[in-house]
């Protein structure tokens, strides 16, 4: 399962449809459409992303809704719980040192997304990012700006910030996503993993950044919204097989994503078979 948790939502449906179809073709399974709030949060927080989407999407693909909020002043932060009702994932984009500290330590968000094309005055520090990672808040690296801009400094900043984040976070809790404003900025999962390994993260960690870590963001966010205090959740555990099921497809769809799908039960051991046979025979004798 590959995740791309940042595709900006636009009103240009044709472009978006093309992007989503291309992501599916490249092998991504879950895509989050992002709506960005600039400045103060408006009174009406409902997501502009319609559900279902105005164009047909590939059936294999799961679409999530995500919002980006810019952290500029402390005033808007108390409305984050209201945002949670309207979006599947909430990401924060800190603009300075103080808001980054706040986002890492206390805010109730799912992702920290930094604008890597900027130059940060201070180095990132492990204690700060470490608290975020320990809380389950992951840090996102968006690779698309580095691909499409002709601006050499933006490219350089992106690489330097990415390598720095990889060094400081010690490779833990990082997520790769595209933030692709057009189709051309999307790359296949393997290409992204290779890019990560060139930046010094290594193949395994790079793969985790597209699969395991991203999944944990999605699932934590879901648990926060649907479970009892984020601790207890009722999951669909299957049902007893009814002998004459006609239509298997009508079963309710599962919530969440399974870690692995278990196959059939174990085959019966020879000893058990013998035992069963004997029991049957005994039962026959008794009835006779």
């Amino acid at each position: 399962m590959f995740y791309d948790l940042n595709v900006p939502w636009t009103d240009n449906t044709r472009e978006l449809q093309r992007t989503v179809a291309f992501l599916d073709e490249l092998g991504y399974d879950v895509v989050a459409l992002t709506h960005t709030f600039t400045g103060r949060l408006p009174a009406d927080l409902t997501s502009p992303v319609p559900r279902p989407l105005p164009f047909p999407t590939p059936s294999r693909l799961r679409i999530l809704r995500r919002c980006n909020i810019f952290l500029t002043d402390a005033a808007t932060n108390h409305r984050i719980p209201q945002l949670q009702q309207h979006y599947d994932i909430i990401a924060a984009r800190p603009t300075d040192e103080r808001t980054l500290q706040q986002a890492c330590a206390s805010l109730d968000i799912d992702l920290i997304s930094l604008d890597l094309t900027q130059r940060f005055e201070k180095y990132f520090k492990f204690p700060m990012l470490g608290t975020a990672i320990a809380r389950g808040v992951k840090i996102e690296l968006c690779y698309s700006q580095g691909l499409l801009t002709g601006d050499a400094t933006a490219k350089r900043n992106l690489i330097s910030n990415a390598t720095q984040l990889i060094r400081v976070s010690r490779g833990r809790g990082l997520i790769f996503s595209s933030e692709a404003r057009s189709v051309m900025a999307v790359r296949a999962p393997s290409d992204v993993i290779n890019l990560a390994s060139v930046w010094g993260l290594g193949h395994e960690r790079g793969k985790d950044g597209l699969t395991k870590e991203a999944r944990s963001v999605v699932e934590f966010a879901r648990l926060k919204r649907e479970s009892f205090r984020g601790v207890v959740d009722v999951v669909y555990g299957g049902e007893k097989p009814v002998p004459d099921v006609v239509d298997k497809n009508k079963r309710a769809p599962k919530k969440g994503t399974p870690v692995s799908q278990s196959g059939e039960g174990k085959p019966m051991s020879n000893r058990q078979k013998k035992r069963n046979k004997k029991m049957d025979e005994d039962a026959d004798k008794n009835t006779v």
Binding site: L26, G27, R187, A188, P189, D191, N194
Partner: protein, 194 residues
């Protein structure tokens, strides 16, 4: 025996944006999206241009150091504009640089300028395996295009075919899932011919 070790990258050129090629026709819009994505590369983009594009990319990303490391055995072994596929040879120790340069490519070089997404499909230690992969891919894509067309034509007929059809589709989907990640061969395969 000690020999120079190489990696062979099998590369696909994808065209996700709909800017039609130079011979724009009205029938272009009717093509299935799969074929639109895998449309043929312009013939003017020959192996020499590809090589120069890679060189430029490596120089831009890694500078003279990268270029020096890579250039010792950089070569385009196979280039087919019809299927938009290439096999690129590069040194084993530094194949990631070439791969990154390909990832950073956004358009075909100057005189053509079509937007392109380059996707590395397979990293192989021997050219034989790379060739086999190219053949397998080509067959696969034809099959998928045919299936898509059939699916668009008669949906109800497909439903009636029952479990056999569904099973087949499930199998294809599973197979696709395996293929998302590029196989990188770590173990060197022995080949006497090189």
């Amino acid at each position: 025996m000690v020999r120079v070790k190489n990696r062979y990258l099998v590369v696909n050129f994808l065209y996700p944006s709909t800017t039609p090629p130079s011979t724009s026709t009205s029938s272009f819009k009717d093509l299935p999206s799969l074929l639109q994505l895998h449309q043929p590369t312009p013939d003017t983009f020959h192996a020499g241009l590809l090589l120069r594009a890679i060189r430029d990319g490596v120089t831009e990303l890694f500078g003279d150091y990268g270029m020096g490391m890579v250039s010792s055995s950089l070569k385009v072994n196979y280039h087919s504009p019809a299927t938009s596929t290439s096999i690129i040879r590069c040194p084993q120790a530094h194949y990631q640089m070439v791969w990154a340069a390909l990832t950073y490519m956004t358009a075909l070089p100057r005189p053509i300028g079509t937007p392109v997404v380059v996707k590395v499909v397979r990293v192989s230690g021997t050219i034989k395996m790379a060739e086999l992969e190219v053949i397998r891919r080509a067959k696969d894509i034809i099959l998928r295009a045919k299936m898509e067309q059939r699916g668009g034509g008669g949906g109800i007929k497909g439903m009636g075919a029952g479990m056999g059809m569904v099973g087949h589709i499930m199998k294809t989907v599973e197979k696709r899932r395996e293929e998302v990640l590029v196989r990188v061969e770590e173990a060197e395969e022995e080949s006497e011919s090189e």
